[in-house]
Amino acid sequence: MLVSYKWLQEFIDLEGVSAEELAEKITKSGIEVEGVDKLNEGLSGVVVGHVLECDKHPNAEKLNKTLVDLGNGETVQIICGAANVGKGQKVAVATVGAVLPGNFKIKKAKLRGEESHGMICSLQELGIEGKLAPKEFAEGIYNFTPDTEIGQDALAVLNRDDEILELGLTPNRADAMSMLGVAYEVGAILGKEIKLPNPQPETSAEQASDYISVNVEAKEDNPLYVAKVIKNVKVGPSPVWLQTRLMAAGIRPHNNIVDITNYILLEYGQPLHAFDYDKFGSKEILVRRANDGEVIETLDDVKRTLTPDHLVITNGTEPVALAGVMGGANSEVGNDTTTVLLESAYFTGGAIRKASKDHGLRSEASSRYEKGVDPERVRPAAERAAELMIELAGGEILGGVVEADSLDVKPAVVSTTIQKINKVLGTELEMNQVEEIFARLKFETTVDNDTITVTVPTRRGDITIEEDLVEEVGRLFGYDNLPTTLPVGPSTPGHLSDYQEKRRIVRRFMEGAGLYQAVTYSLTSAEKATQYALEQREPVQLAMPMSEDRSLLRLSIVPQLLEVLKYNIARQNDSVAVYETGAVFLKNGEDELPEEREHLAAAITGLWESHPWQGEKKPVDFFVLKGIVEGLSAKLGLDSQLGFQKAELDGLHPGRTAEILLNGTVIGFIGQVHPTMQKALDLKETYVFELSLKALLEAETAPLQYTAIPRFPSITRDIALVVEKDTAAGNLKRVITEAGGTLLKEVQVFDLYEGEKMEPGKKSIAFSLKYFDPEKTLTDEDIAKAHNKVLKALEEQAGAVLRG
């Protein structure tokens, strides 16, 4: 809502309160003022001039040479490019020295050899948007009415010496979608009385009921419909004060009749519609739901097909307006209109919202109906409009009342207590302070001991319950004046859950290991949704996605991280290591929520470590990433529960991929991105893993327990084994561990040789075995016994022989 500071002063005395100050006060007590627009900011030196002569420029086809009387005794020659300039017009002249928007300074100039002392202005040149300028002046200069006095400040005539407050209205404050509503609000804030219009137009002896009748079929959608007939009107442009008020509020002037309906919409918040009575086509207004497939051509010349969801005004047979949204082209008021049929109606929000949404039509009228208008303003608004029509377009109002009224709206009566108010706000208000606040709001109250009962006017449909009253008190008392306290209830221990605590440990570990945390989108494309999924299910799909790329919920994080890598590589960030923790979504039944499982994923590419001047460059490889997973499981006390087994998975290098197991159950994968995929994404060698963080963090771990530091020396035996090339080190280690018995405390791979010195198909792998006994120093025999068992098991179970 755009509120003119000047117009507002018709309803309330703003002496001593500047527009800026008013904006600040309104913002602090209820409605955010998003800006204050000074209409004449950066504008000066524009006067009303009279075009005395207008001829073609001798040297330029498209220019005119005019002689303009500036009203101050000065008559100047001005070259004007506008096609619509003409002799006898009253125009806005930017005189030499004037400043126009954009700091455009007017200077004396010579145009094609002719002097020009100023510029004749269009409304756009004076800072009015083209789409708001009256159609006849939208393409050229503006003309004042012939009776406009010359020499005066044109900006004042155009009401540019005004300031506009832009109200950012929340849906509950529909009451402030009118000047009267804003006046009530400002009155409450400033504690001042307000002056309301009091229309009492005279009517003729002729009865409107002889011209029209109203019949409402859809009573629920339209509980009140008031019709008026105004005869013998003369349609023409509105006076400049009316046009400028509309333009300042963002509405384009059309003609006096239409402008008046819009003016009343702004003043009362009550949408009105004017039909050309002679084009209406009958003497009966019938309001009903549209028939399926019925068509109406609206004022914007668009043919619209309707359904029974939409409410229409008809002449008994065919629709003449899409109720509350837009009128029909067939009954539009034009210059030849002489009799006006004026509609002022109360439509409920539902049907209007539906029609407005279905037809993509958001009008000043529909937005007000959607949020709710004040039923008590339907009749006064019609009276006020009729009165203005007589005043500005001549004619006479026919007598009598024509309306259909099934309205059942009573003001809400809400009670609260002083204790409740103080309990909710944390204040120590007295009842008389509360009474005073409601008096400022012009709400009637009665007080009975500690209880106050408030009769809420229908214009404030947002107030229905006790808490709403508390809010009115709070906001007008001023939140600045509230005490500052902290909750005093029983103390509660604040903490993270075990899961949340561990998740933070995981993040810290990953970051300490050198990975950056990424946050990517959950919504993805059909292709990526299922790629690298740990568990293949049909992905969850949005009913109405905004794009193909964001239409389904991800089943895995890796594709998103690969996208991150690709984005970085394309920007010369060649070495990238990122991880993410986040949900993947596993579909359940229809209308059931999907299972959201938190995953941990990582992707690395480029150099892992580099120290250029020492000549060190270590590219990423499988074991870099595996080391991170192992380190993480050790950090969580799960290293003995975690395992890896060779696997072949879609999108991963078949020779460099493993499944990650937790106590034998697959919880993730790790591997090199398949070279084909790497190529498609423009990636160099890239390694990824993804695992179920949920599984990892919910695994049982043994409580941390101290074990004695050995007092006796340990003994190490190194063995180099020759085995088949495809023998897994992990398998050998298992054999050793199982055979080594209790004395064997540690087994580590310390060498791997697959070079040419080996027999074809063989490799050498060396282990270091550490034996110790916490109770005594081991003898050679003790060790030999255990060690021989190991060697025997290796030979029998893995075909491994000691390398000679």
Binding site: K28, S29, G30, I31, E32, P171, N172, L425, G426, T427, I465, E466, D468, E471, G474, Y479, L482, P483, T484, T485, L486, P487, G489, S491, T492, P493, G494, H495, L496, S497, R504, R507, M510, G512, Y516, Q517, A518, Y521, S522, L523, V540, L542, A543, M544, Y567, N568, N573, V576, A577, V578, Y579, G582, F585, D591, L593, E596, E609, S610, H611, W613
Partner: protein, 345 residues
């Protein structure tokens, strides 16, 4: 004999002085002071001396030995020192060369903001609650006083999956779920961070996916002044002790009264600038007293219980705090962007 000793001393001292390294010095020691050395030889002739002269000569011989070994010792120290110096000279490095980089990653800036807020509220007795990102219409809207057809549903156009399920548009459903779990009993003191989704085209200021963090306190005597005090603690911790806060009336269907909180603009100190659009204030969050319908729907007696709730956007906070100018940076994960947040504040 005496002369011979003096002669030997002079000769030995000369050689000590001339020794170029520890080995040469050691040779001198062995050749003069050893058992087969010349001094021992000389002393073998002591038998020929008179009883009177013998002790004198013995003393002289010791003097000569002491003199030589003393010098050797001094020389040895010198040579050792020289050797150390030589080694040190050979071991010079250029200390201005860069060190070996330690591999580090870092938190995403949104995580930093969220954890900072979590920790602040944990310190005030809150727990951290999370909930599903795909929600039931009931928890996302209805339980929050937004029945079907409510005009305020327009305010947050949403991604529906089916009629009854959608991508949550705020983290408030976690509040509804948590209250329901408490079965009408207090106190509830929670903070709920998480991802939320709205039908917005991604641009510099909009993102179809973003973070939200909300707080909720429900108990028998929760007042709006408690909300004000809590938000003040929050604002000063997050944005600096010298920030002022202001509560402005607003509207949310799930709170009544509803407010928005502004903080005084750090850039201009309140006089107005482009960041605060000339107002001197910057909008940070929405809050209010929990609407009685919300309490009742979750099983609380709204005559007995009151509560406050607040919600804010970590992206907005990060953008204000760090001066990030485009919300998309948070989701493209350019490492040049992420790296900037590895500093612990």
């Amino acid at each position: 004999m005496q002369d011979r000793l003096k002669e030997l001393q002079a000769e030995a001292l000369e050689k000590v002085a001339a020794a170029a390294d520890l080995k040469e010095l050691n040779d001198v020691r062995v050749s003069y002071l050893g058992k087969k050395g010349p001094i021992t030889e000389v002393l073998k002739g002591m038998g020929k001396l008179s009883a009177e002269e013998r002790p004198k000569m013995g003393a002289l011989a010791n003097e000569v030995r002491d003199a030589i070994s003393g010098q050797i010792e001094i020389k040895q120290k010198e040579l050792e020192e020289a050797a150390v110096q030589k080694q040190l000279a050979a071991e010079q490095i250029d200390v201005t060369l860069p060190g070996r980089p330690v591999k580090t990653g870092s938190h995403h800036p949104l995580t930093s903001i969220i954890e900072e807020i979590e920790d602040l509220f944990i310190g005030m007795g809150y727990t951290v609650e999370e909930g599903p990102e795909v929600e039931k219409d009931y928890y996302n809207f209805e339980a929050l006083n937004l029945p079907k057809g409510h005009p305020a549903r327009d305010m947050q156009d949403s991604f529906y999956i089916t009629e009854e399920t959608l991508m949550r548009t705020h983290t408030s459903p976690v509040q509804a779920r948590t209250m329901e779990k408490h079965q009408g009993k207090g106190p509830v003191k929670i903070i709920c961070p998480g991802k939320v989704y709205r039908r917005d085209n991604d641009d510099a200021t909009h993102s179809h996916q973003f973070m939200q963090i909300e707080g909720l306190v429900v108990d028998e005597n929760v007042r709006m002044s408690d909300l004000k005090g809590t938000l003040e603690v929050f604002a000063k911790k997050m944005f600096g002790e010298d920030r002022e806060i202001r509560l402005r009336p607003s509207f949310f269907p799930f709170t009544e009264p509803s407010v928005e909180m502004d903080i005084s603009c750090k850039i201009c100190g309140g006089s107005g600038c482009s960041v605060c659009k000339g107002t001197g204030w910057i909008e940070i969050l929405g809050a209010g007293m929990v609407h009685p319908n919300v309490l009742e729907m979750a099983g609380y007696d709204s005559k007995k219980y009151t509560g406050f709730a607040f919600g804010m956007g970590p992206e907005r906070i990060a953008m204000l705090k760090y001066g990030v100018d485009d919300i998309r940076h948070f989701y493209t994960n350019d490492v040049r962007f992420l790296k900037q947040f590895s500093i612990e504040e």
